[in-house]
């Protein structure tokens, strides 16, 4: 059940009240309650999906114990991770691998076809599989001890605010909170509700509203002019940010109202001054997972330059594949990897020779930062075209349309004044948090009337201009 559905908003207050009615000292009862709710909400997608979730939880829980006791922990770890990744490979990548392999054989004039599989992919499988596999790696590297309480571990993997969409938590962050005592903290709950409101605004009002324009243009791009395609690609860049960060904020907000603190997943990514910087701000929990469990294991930066570049490329190709079983995602990952390698070679990454503008002239320094933000934004927007398109051919065609400024229909932007208001709110919020220490964050203004005015205004925008039919969250399919 997505958080922006009416049904969720009907049951959430009830869940919330019952949760806090349970006395804090009965934390096991509270955890069992959360576990039951998490599974029921997950089964609301499709009951059979829960079998995959439960199997992966059970396997990695037992795997963690075996690794701790095993005389060959490395091989045990590989075995457990291999088996844990099997459902993800089968559900998500089987058809892709099958068709890619067949295509390759066809190119060699050979014919070999395995039947395709036609079933629904369990929701959030990439998220909970990575969280479970991350736990196994952490046990193997002795960063955490193997969990002894199966119910706590089940809740760690299936905790409903994050199971379908992340953030991907570390065992060392979430398990202690599950085991700890949680008390009703007014400020934490207020902060959670603020995040929930702002996340809802980003998702329902900004992302879904932009999505209508983006879907119209992208699905019929051959009829549209280069300028319209360009506008749609910029809108998609904003849409995917608001969609994913909005949903993440809702997940973090709901967790806070239940007394949990999840890791921040976004830190104003479009104000990044390089692609390397962008990945320190975008989908932070996934970047952290890939850095810890892939990049560093490959050798990270403690090797030759060429090997480091290869490690970056491999990590980003995996990141691309994680997002979807299509060559477009692989290319998207490859582009991001390539940009980062180029930045490293030119010394433009944050730790590079030209990573930070060192001039004493404030105006020049600000100008350089603005230019670098704009260049990064353009490069990221360019890569998103591959992410959005269903085939590499269409993506290339789309880019050609933009570059050649081709003729075609234009698509008017509906609700322009409202869209402008929303953009101002979004950009203002990010700029204020980035450069002005959140001075213009109206949700935390010292005057109550300003705070309440901001709450009511945001809520009104959601109801008046949100797309309220619980349209799917883009990242839910990952």
């Amino acid at each position: 059940m997505v958080f922006n559905s009416f049904n969720f908003w009907l049951i959430y207050p009830i869940l919330f009240i019952i949760y806090w009615v349970i006395p804090a000292k009965l934390k096991n009862v509270g955890n069992c309650y959360l576990l039951i709710i998490s599974y029921l909400l997950y089964m609301n997608w499709k009951p059979t999906f829960a079998i995959v979730l439960l199997s992966i939880s059970l396997l990695t829980f037992l795997g963690g114990k075996f690794i701790e006791k095993s005389s060959v922990p490395k091989w045990t770890c590989f075995l457990v991770v291999g088996i844990a990744l099997l459902p993800l490979l089968c559900f998500k990548y089987y058809n892709f691998l099958n068709s890619s392999f067949s295509d390759l054989l066809t190119m060699l004039n050979l014919k070999f076809n395995l039947p395709g599989l036609n079933y629904a992919i369990p929701v959030g499988i990439s998220f909970f599989t990575f969280q479970a596999v991350g736990y196994v790696f952490d046990v193997y590297h002795k960063r955490v001890a193997a969990e002894k309480n199966f119910l706590d571990y089940l809740l760690f993997i299936s905790f409903f605010p994050q199971v379908t969409s992340g953030p991907i938590s570390k065992a060392s962050e979430l398990l202690p909170q599950i085991k700890g005592t949680r008390s009703f903290d007014y400020n934490q709950i207020k902060e959670g509700l603020q995040l929930l409101l702002w996340g809802m605004f980003l998702k329902v009002a900004v992302a879904d509203r932009l999505g209508i324009y983006v879907d119209t243009v992208y699905s019929n791009y051959i009829y549209y002019s280069g300028s319209t395609c360009f506008t749609a690609s910029v809108f998609y860049t904003i849409q995917i940010y608001c969609d994913f960060s909005g949903y993440s904020l809702m997940a973090i907000g709901i967790s806070k109202t239940l007394g949990f603190n999840l890791v921040d997943n976004f830190r104003r990514p479009y104000l990044a001054t390089s692609i390397t910087d962008f990945w320190k701000r975008w989908h932070i929990s996934l970047t952290r997972w890939l850095t810890t469990h892939v990049y560093i294991n490959l050798g990270g930066n403690r090797c030759s330059k060429v090997r480091q570049y290869l490690n970056i490329m491999i990590t980003f190709l995996i990141s691309g594949l994680w997002h979807g079983a299509n060559w477009t995602f692989v290319i998207w990952g490859g582009i991001h990897g390539l940009f980062q390698i180029i930045e490293k070679i030119l010394g433009l990454d944050p730790k590079g020779k030209y990573g930070v503008c060192t001039t004493s002239n404030r105006f020049l320094s600000a100008f350089v930062v603005v230019m670098r933000i704009m260049v990064t934004f353009t490069l990221v927007s360019f890569a998103w075209i591959f992410f959005r398109m269903d085939s590499v051919h269409n993506a290339m065609d789309y880019i050609y349309k933009i570059i050649s400024c081709s003729d075609g229909q234009s698509q008017g932007i509906r609700f322009l004044p409202i869209m402008m208001t929303m953009f101002v709110m979004l950009i203002g919020s990010d700029l204020s948090a980035e450069f002005l220490n959140g001075r213009f964050n109206f949700f935390n203004n010292k005057y109550k009337i300003v705070r309440w005015g901001a709450y009511i205004f945001t809520f009104m925008l959601i109801i008046l201009y949100g797309v309220l039919d619980a349209s799917q969250f883009i990242y839910v399919s990952f």
């Binding site: 806090w20 009703f184 007014y186 051959i222 003729d407 609700f415 009104m460 201009y465």
Partner: protein, 300 residues
């Protein structure tokens, strides 16, 4: 805990007060809209008195000029079609308008994917024009059958005008003349030659749409309205089996069925279209004039 409950209660009380204010404001704006989509819906539901009504999807909105029909046939005509809507919306509108009068004829542009084919699971997009009239008898049941929660959501005045506030204000400030008797002409030309395959193929019928489509037939029968099915040209289209169900119904209920889907006098001319599915004003004029003899024969 106490502080939290008090603050949350105050928040919702303020929100309800704001919502009530929006109810008064939106009701006033709806009644005083000077022209445009909302005024069109208000007129269809409460003001229509024409002999002939045109219903259907965007293809009906763009393809039938009521003025040409009125001048040629000598009957008053209004285009009640909506972009992106099909029989679900049309049935709701008919329920609303037949409470104050019954037209003599209805010309229904059939769009299979909107009228009876299974395309999507979520019908809420068809409710858009009906939202402001969700409490009207007959319309309320459509909302309940599509989503039982919808009737609760409709208690919010702000939700009722979701996506419509600017339009409401604009229609009160300026008269939007581009809509003429419900007809919305499009002046653009088709810039690019489309792919060969212009329409997606859907194979099975949608139970709910079929039910609404049949309900329209029954309602017309009950109120003695002469219903005519019509299909306008689709660019470069060949014969299609998608209309078989419609033909079957037309045969069963003795409803005239005028099919220009693959009319080569129009659908091979690129200048008549602005995209493969919709004709521009030049095409619409030519097509409307083209069907006049057939309409005359049918109505007589």
């Amino acid at each position: 805990m106490k502080k939290f409950i008090i603050n949350l209660s105050i928040f919702f009380v303020v929100l309800i007060a704001v919502d009530v204010c929006f109810g008064f404001i939106s009701n006033y704006l709806i009644k005083h809209a000077a022209g445009g989509e909302i005024q069109k819906t208000e007129y269809i539901c409460n003001g229509t008195s024409e002999d002939l009504l045109i219903m259907g999807s965007s293809r009906a909105v763009r393809h039938y000029d009521p003025k040409i029909i009125s001048d040629s046939l000598g009957v008053s005509c209004y285009n009640c079609a909506y972009i992106g809507c099909g029989c679900i919306t049309a049935y709701g509108l008919l329920q609303a308008l037949t409470s104050h009068y019954s037209p003599k004829y209805i010309l229904y542009e059939v769009t299979p994917e909107f009228d009876y084919l299974k395309v999507e699971e979520d019908y809420s997009k068809y409710l858009g024009p009906l939202k402001l009239y969700s409490s009207v008898r007959g319309v309320d049941s459509i909302f309940s059958s599509i989503d039982p929660m919808e009737k609760y959501k409709m208690n919010s005045n702000m939700y009722r005008i979701n996506s419509k506030l600017l339009q409401l204000v604009a229609e009160n400030i300026t008269k939007q003349n581009f809509i003429s008797n419900g007809y919305l002409p499009e002046c653009r030309l088709m810039a690019t030659e489309p792919d060969d395959e212009v329409t997606k193929r859907y194979n099975c019928n949608d139970d709910y749409k079929v039910k609404c489509f049949n309900n329209i037939i029954q309602l017309c029968k009950r109120d003695k309205i002469k219903l005519v099915f019509i299909v306008s040209p689709l660019y470069n289209a060949e014969k299609s089996s998608e209309f078989d169900y419609c033909k079957e119904l037309a045969h069963k209920y003795n409803i005239p069925f005028i099919n220009h889907f693959n009319d080569s006098t129009i659908n091979r001319n690129k200048d008549y279209f602005y995209d493969p599915v919709h004709m521009n004003v030049i095409g619409a004029n030519a097509y409307t004039k083209n069907i006049i003899p057939e309409l005359r024969a049918v109505f007589n």
